[in-house]
Assembly symmetry: none
Homo-oligomer: 300 residues x 2
Amino acid sequence: MYGWLNATEMMTTSNDSVADRIQDNFERLTRAERQLAGALRENYPVSGLGSITTLAENAQVSTPTVVRMVRKLGFAGFPEFQAALKRELEAKISNPIAKHESWAENAPDEHPLNQFTEAVIDNIHQSLAQVDHEVFDRACGLLADPSRQVFIVGGRISRSLSDYFYMHLQMIRAGVHPINAANNNWPHSILDMKAEDVLVAIDMRRYENSTIKMAELAQERGVRLILFTDQWGSPVSKFADMSFSSKISVPSAWDSLVVTLLLMETMVADVQRRSWNNTRNRIEELEEIFDRTRQFRKFT
Amino acid sequence: MYGWLNATEMMTTSNDSVADRIQDNFERLTRAERQLAGALRENYPVSGLGSITTLAENAQVSTPTVVRMVRKLGFAGFPEFQAALKRELEAKISNPIAKHESWAENAPDEHPLNQFTEAVIDNIHQSLAQVDHEVFDRACGLLADPSRQVFIVGGRISRSLSDYFYMHLQMIRAGVHPINAANNNWPHSILDMKAEDVLVAIDMRRYENSTIKMAELAQERGVRLILFTDQWGSPVSKFADMSFSSKISVPSAWDSLVVTLLLMETMVADVQRRSWNNTRNRIEELEEIFDRTRQFRKFT
DNA sequence: GCTTTTCTGAAATTTTTGTTTCAGAACGAT
DNA sequence: ATCGTTCTGAAACAAAAATTTCAGAAAAGC
């Protein structure tokens, strides 16, 4: 299986940059070594110029791991590896052409990867600037309140995101319920909503009638509504207590949900933090169940 | 005796660059020290990053001379001097996209929104740098090839993303099939895979045994495997023809899939572009079906 | 020229860095 | 469950780097 990799290995020992060598040999690296590779990439190549001890500590691995990795990359030892880094640096310094920043570094600027990423960064920028952090905090507070049930609903496209959000919230706390707006059982879920419960709705372009209807019914029951929508705002926002809009335009025939995912993940992180005291056991139990079922692997 | 010089010395110990300090203290340097200073200026600052011995040899002076000089410049010893050089270098090299001050503009920097976003941007940066655009293009080519069936599988957490990917791809072209790794019907799907078909797998931390098994079986049938994984690399990568890794670490108890989503969306955009001629009708038909069912609202 | 002061590097010493070994942990196969 | 394999870091060890000491060389003063 690794037949061809051996050839690669021999090639990479010649005069590629250290970064390239890491790239090329990445498959062959072990878990700890990959962690080290990651640490090395932050602030590359300066990060590798300290002592082997410093580098190891930085990457939270042992010094032998460092030695093993640089050997895999084709160097005789750490000093040789460091010398290579220094040569690279020298070349880089002496060539002060302030090259326009490119995301996928070896791809031309007009490559879809660069164009798309550029747009997404811009979306993040513009969307985040609009978020009121107090509203955000308030939303997290609601979601972390164990006395409230939380219902989560997404549309046809945003279903993936609502699933994702549901899954995390469900691990963090009890009383979280997914609603499937697509099948027509959803009115049953409304029955279970009490005043002061929370409904999280995601409704993006191609706003869905069922989501609007659900929001309306929920509001009548005194449910607090948190809405994730796009930059134009779903009609659901009429009923929302708090609403977060993300810019979704990218050079594509389709919209981008990256910003919404970012907001959700941030919210999950914060709710987790707030809930920690109430439900720390929950996670530990979950871990244990995973271990017991051995369905998932911890590493490698 | 050095009464007035002490004052100078104190001034220069603050936070000037090493070059400045040499400049300021040049008068006070002895012959051998000036020779050293000269050597240091050639190829500054990289020249100072080796060992004290190397530097001394380079400048043709003794190591004690080096120590004495760096002390005169206000450093406690050679290592401290070198650390200063490294910091300078870091600042010089480090990303021209200077850290953006604050994302959620009215929130304090330490607000979760800003912290989290900062981490995500960093993840994007580091992950994209690692993507080989030729591999990316090749993957898009496979996915756009109408003669191949495409199967998509995700794990417990990454299911949401695989759904999302499936949904888009399915709109773009025919012959796209989701696989549910969780339920034990998935071996049935394997039956339908022919050589040269494509399997897209998403396997992130907490790598799942069923995904690995599926990858192996698929490979035996000559299926091309495209893998999305995290920075450590799922064991599935052993079987993958192309693999894309995203950095997923954020200040949270959970991992971030933002980068993976970004990669997927970019890929969807590109596949769409490539498939346009083959399946332009498909989208139009879809539009019409939506209109007929009146399930979605175009505006407001 | 002679003395005093300052400067310099060889060599000894201390500290740190880099490498190797090895036992235990995690993993993978059965 | 168990057994062989691979991976990992603690600790021992070797190598080197950094510092200090000190005697002799160079420079300055007289």
